[in-house]
Amino acid sequence: MTRSSRPVVGIFGLTGCAGDQLQILNCEDQLVEIAGEMEIAHWVMAQSENDRACDLDVGFVEGVVATERDLATLRKVRERSRFLVAIGTCAVWGGLPAMRNDMPREVLQREVYRSGGEFLDTVEARPATDFVPFDFCLPGCPMERHEFLRLVRAILAGTTPELTTKPVCHECKTRENLCPRHLLQGDVLRRHDPLRVWGPLPVPRRALRWVPGPGGRTQLRRQHRHVLGSRHRPRGDRTSHGQVLGAGLDDPRSRAGGGS
């Protein structure tokens, strides 16, 4: 049961650096406006009057579960929240605190606290998503402000956020950063990176074309003629003129079909 017409929101931090809660505070331009559109019932980091029992429309959870107390908090938050959002890499995947899960906690404890740490409430650091179901995940260390704002706006509007169509590399390229993948192109990459550590071979820009895809949506796809190897050939290769492309080429699929 919500207490007002505005959505009731809670922001919770488990074990972590509070970077994702700080990113919320870092939305300086939108903070007051957004906070006016929702009712923040629980945010220990930023307010002193916190409701510990009310039902929440949206709960944001940051950090890893590294203590029994964290787990209890997380379970309670899941019960209270209609939507639960994991913010930050720690909550989604475990992040840095989960980096040394190959070592037992006692060893780590001895390393840091010497002999005086037996009283510690400590369990293997695991992401919050391991324990309870989440509705949305916003990874990133810390999460990106605009992604958070986009999610909040979508939730306030009663929809789900639209996923970005930009490739991961987009922003890096527009900043004209040198990319190690592009320094190692073609033969160099084949020779030096046979295991594809740097990812797949870069596809020349010319090989990509906007083509009609399923559901009438336009897709950026590889044009089959220039593609390296024929296994990338899309099905139903017809140009806008209805011509079947590659009909004269050696097509392993058609050969297999003809043989059966």
Binding site: G13, L14, T15, C17, A18, G19, D20, L22, Q23, L25, N26, E28, D29, L31, V32, A35, G36, I40, W43, V44, M45, A46, Q47, S48, E49, N50, V64, V65, A66, T67, R69, D70, G95, L96, P97, M99, R100, M103, V107, L108, Q109, E111, V112, Y113, G116, G117, F119, L120, D121, T122, A125, C141, P142, L178, C179, P180, L183
Partner: protein, 410 residues
Amino acid sequence: VTTARTVTIPHLGRVEGHGGITVRIAGDRIEDVNMDIHEGSRYYEALLKGKHFLEVQGIITRVCAICSANHTVAALNALENALGIEQSERIHKLRGLLLLGSMIESHSLHVFALALPDFLGHDSIISMAKDHPHEVAFALRLKQLGNRIQDAIGGRAVHPINTLVGGFGTIPTAETLRTIRSELEEALEPLMDLVDLVAGLDVPDWAAEPSIHVALRPYEDAYRLRGVAICTSRGDEFPITDYRDVVREFTVEHSHAKHAALASGESYMVGAMSRLTLWGHFLGGRAPHRLRAPVRRRGGATTSCSTTGPSWWNSSTPWSAPWSCASCSPPCPGQPARCSSIRSARGVASPPSRSRGAPCSMSTSWMRTDWWCRPTSSPPPPRTWPTPSATCASPSSACSPRTASSTIAN
């Protein structure tokens, strides 16, 4: 009737991290106050073991988000010391700017978003915005400015990525730096107005004052965040590499966070207050004037920052440090002879000479570094180590650094 009871505050609001307070009261006497930090342990010291040195800053910066730039610079300084890399002037200054950006951001967050609502009777900065819209708007703008500086130098506002061992991935352009400068100049005037608001707050008279302040001796005769030695308000001075001897860490049963005390067992204070107490006389620009100018309290009475500040702010000219040397008249604010004897006993009269050494083999073509691994024919001169005179009989530059301040005080 003596009744024993316990007051427990499970979660402290408006604090970064997780903490609570337990107070044990017997009758009308408080027996014990425990601050419990129940943040889970992340074991950063153990996480670092076995990692490549280039990964260290990326790990260490995630200790804390609010002060991530400071952790980064500390880690880089340690690594560069270990590798014998000396920072070029440009790298040193840019890192200083990064630290200042971090300080602007974290202090405006702390003062306006975390602390001030308590004093003004509000729940949070968001509810404070209704009563103090201009102040909150400016506070957020100031915070944003700090973030923008970190963004320009460190690559992003939280957990910088542009900082590397020996340099930066990308050096910010002159245009960026000029923009930052003009924005900082713009923010100065409204900031001075906010000093009134903060200085006019009522500080409860039962608030305990720390007995010992600890801050780093600045690397030059100015108010700086980075330093070359650990100084206490008692007049002790220790080389930074001895920090494990100066500060002892120990665990307490009620808290996940380790406690720290001086080797003598006394608690001490660090941070902005301690820096101001020890090195406030180095403040330049308008800060010394503003500290002494009268401000109006919220009740209407007039006071000045110096009544709420350390007692030595009130003393008439010249500004005297709390550990002023007794053998001089008028008291000399330089380091007493004691610390120079400590220093010479420890053999740190000059900074350890760091040679450039053999060319290192870690050059990576896609990292643009400033001088990293580039042999130079004339290495930059080593940073001057402030040498206090042993007797203070003749005021040297290190012994009386306050000549400029004393003329403008009052």
